[in-house]
Every structure is written in structure tokens, then in C-alpha cells.
Assembly symmetry: C2
Homo-oligomer: 218 residues x 2
């Protein structure tokens, strides 16, 4: 339809400073050169105090951020709020890939245990092996703390499955319960549009109807 | 389908620093809280030198950017490259809304005159009047420099039309040529999907066929 998607390529920017800023924004994931230009021009129109608080927030975060020494979640202190919360059950540890997953699970208000953030997922194709994610510290945690159950809450992808299996094998010697979050038909989804693998799993792992409407409200 | 679009609303962020950075990113146009979180977590994974060059580029741009004193385009010097280029025809001035429009027109390689960047468009609904955009300086430029033609190249919106008409009235006393970029069926568009106003204009402003395949190649 129109071919000015790549106009930034053909013509030089009117200013080197502008070009540098656009280049930096365009390095962010999902931000193309056109969006980058739009964001930079927006910041240019803002007050200098607003621009400063933008750059300051990013810079301070990078310099002062801490990771919880227990669960590796992002934190402002040595131990994060979730791990420090004594009302939470420290014997149940939910293994997730990243911080966003902690926030997603916390948002369900269905889980009152603790977390373990792997900081990644085993993916041989991307060169990410077991030692690149926080699996050793999980094993150590199970060995030294009184953990009774580990819940695997990784994405339902091949990499997630690989990581689940690797962790499962590593935790076998400790004789604790290792469970995995249920996979099945998403709430609101129609059966005919659900893929066969998911549907098959949801039949195999069917739950008693009397339990299906229970939600954890304690 | 899923309702964790707003999970950031319900649950506190694990870190105040993280939350601040997300808030700053979420102020950018078209960036929601979820995207903001993704961008911030990306920067967190980057080297500190990369994060510094990001914040530095934004900060330096805001502090050191200049605007061309003639055309108001963004520039690294007092007069921008386009105005300083003596091979360009300074008697033809193309009026555009913003810097992106200059870049878009430059990319067509069809225009060898100079520009005048209004820095906005008259929009009473947004409280933007004639004095908020660079119209006075355009009139001054026409009055003092030997401008022979002003080309109006604003968006084909109501605000664009209002601004076009305002400028046209302001330039009437100077007895110069005031033209407007052609409006018609976009190249590649099918006739049946073109709106009536555009199609009607394209019939009224039809051009001799022999001129329709000419492009400016000098």
C-alpha cells in the first residue's frame, strides 16, 4: 500500500542526536524504527523534568535493583516481600520462569506458598542449559529447607516440558511431592476450537465435578 | 479470553524501583503497562553500559537538540542541512506539520525545495490556535526572502484543511503561488474501496494522462 515503512533507511535523519536516540529505542523488543521515532519525538515535546525522571527511573532501577536471595524474584531488599511474608506457606514452592509469571500467579489470589524464579528456561536451541537457570539453587533449597511440594508452573511449550522433566529428575532423590499446574481447556474457550493435545490431556486429567467449582478462598 | 491484562493493577509490583520505571515507560504514547513491563525487564537483562547508552542518548538529545532557525526542522546546528544545501531551490517552500513529514517527503526524492515545519496544526478542539504553530515565521519568511511558491502539504483532515485555509489567507497579500499537494486515489488502491470525497476530488482535479507518468528526476 505505502512504502514509507522504510523511509528512515533511505534518508538520513535531520539530526545525529535524534538518530542515536531512535537507534537506542529501536533496540527494545517489539519496537521498530518508526515506533522508536514516534517515542523519541514524544519525549522531545515533553518537559525536561519529565525526560529526566524517565531516564533516571531506568538508570536507578538498573543500578539499585536486587534479586531475592531465596527465590530470585526482583526485590528492593535482600529477601523479597513474598519470601519475608510469614503468613505464606514456605513448604510449597512454585517454580516459574520469570517475574511476570510471579505477578500473573499472584494476581489469581489462589496461591499462598512461595516462589522460585528460574530466570529462564532450558532451551538448547538458544544455547540455554540447566546451569544457566536457577535450578541448582532450587535443588539446594529443597535439600536445606523443609520443602514438601514443588509446583512446576512453566509454559506449556517444548522448552517448558524439557525444563519440567529436568527439574523432576533432579528432585526425585528427595522424595517430595512434585506437581504440575493443570493443562486443559481455557475458561471461556469453545471445545471445537481447542487443539487435540490440550483436549486429550483435559480428558485424561479430568477432575471430580464436585471439585471443579472449588476455588481457594482461605 | 484471559483477564490478566490488568494484573498490574490488582497486585503490587515486587519492587518500587521496577514500578517507577514501568510507570515512566507507560507514559509514552501507545505503550500500555504490560508493554512497559516487558520493555523494562528487557533493559534489566541488558548490560549496564547498554542501559547507560540508552538513557544517555535520550538525555543528550533533549538537552542539546536545536531547531533550524529558518525552517524549524530538528537540527544539530543553527541552520539545518536541508536549508544549508545550496543545490536546493529556496524559492519553493513546502509547509509540513512535523519532522516526520519532512522525512517522508524527502524519502520520495521528488522535492528539491525547502521546508517549513509548523510544529503542529491548528486544532481549536485541542486548544491549538494559529499563534501556537510557526505560521507567523512562515509569513515573515515569505515577506523577507524571495519565496515564489508555498506548497501546503498538511494531512487531509479537518484540522489540516483549516490550517491550509488560514495560511492561504495570510499569504494572499504577497501575491505568490500557493499550491496544495494532490489528493486522489492512492497508488495501489482499488477504486471501489476509495471513499466518495477522495474519488470526487480525483475526478475534479484530473491531470492530463501524458503528465500522469512523469516523475521528477532532475
Amino acid at each position: 500500500m505505502c512504502n514509507h515503512n522504510n523511509y528512515q533507511m533511505n534518508r538520513p535523519y535531520p539530526s545525529v542526536l535524534l538518530e542515536n536516540a531512535v537507534n537506542e529505542f529501536a533496540k527494545l523488543p517489539g519496537v521498530g524504527r518508526k515506533t522508536a521515532l514516534r517515542l523519541v519525538l514524544h519525549l522531545l515535546r515533553e518537559d525536561i523534568s519529565q525526560v529526566d525522571s524517565f531516564t533516571e527511573a531506568v538508570s536507578v532501577l538498573k543500578r539499585e535493583v536486587k534479586y531475592c536471595s531465596l527465590c530470585h524474584n526482583i526485590s528492593d531488599s535482600e529477601i523479597c516481600n513474598l519470601c519475608a511474608d510469614t503468613s505464606r506457606d514456605s513448604s510449597v514452592v512454585c517454580v516459574v520462569e520469570n517475574i511476570k509469571d510471579v505477578m500473573a500467579i499472584e494476581n489469581t489470589v489462589q496461591f499462598k506458598g512461595q516462589y522460585h524464579v528460574l530466570g529462564g528456561i532450558i532451551s538448547p536451541i538458544d544455547g540455554i542449559g540447566p546451569s544457566d537457570v536457577e535450578i541448582a539453587s532450587l535443588v539446594e533449597r529443597v535439600k536445606t529447607k523443609s520443602v514438601k511440594e514443588v509446583i512446576l508452573a512453566l509454559s506449556a511449550t517444548m522448552e517448558g516440558d524439557t525444563t519440567n522433566f529436568y527439574i523432576y529428575r533432579k528432585l526425585e532423590p528427595f522424595n517430595i511431592k512434585v506437581s504440575i499446574i493443570a493443562r486443559g481447556v481455557s475458561i471461556g474457550n469453545e471445545l471445537e476450537y481447542t487443539d487435540e493435545v490440550t483436549l486429550g490431556r483435559s480428558i485424561l486429567n479430568r477432575t471430580p465435578f464436585s471439585e471443579s467449582f472449588k476455588i481457594n478462598q482461605k
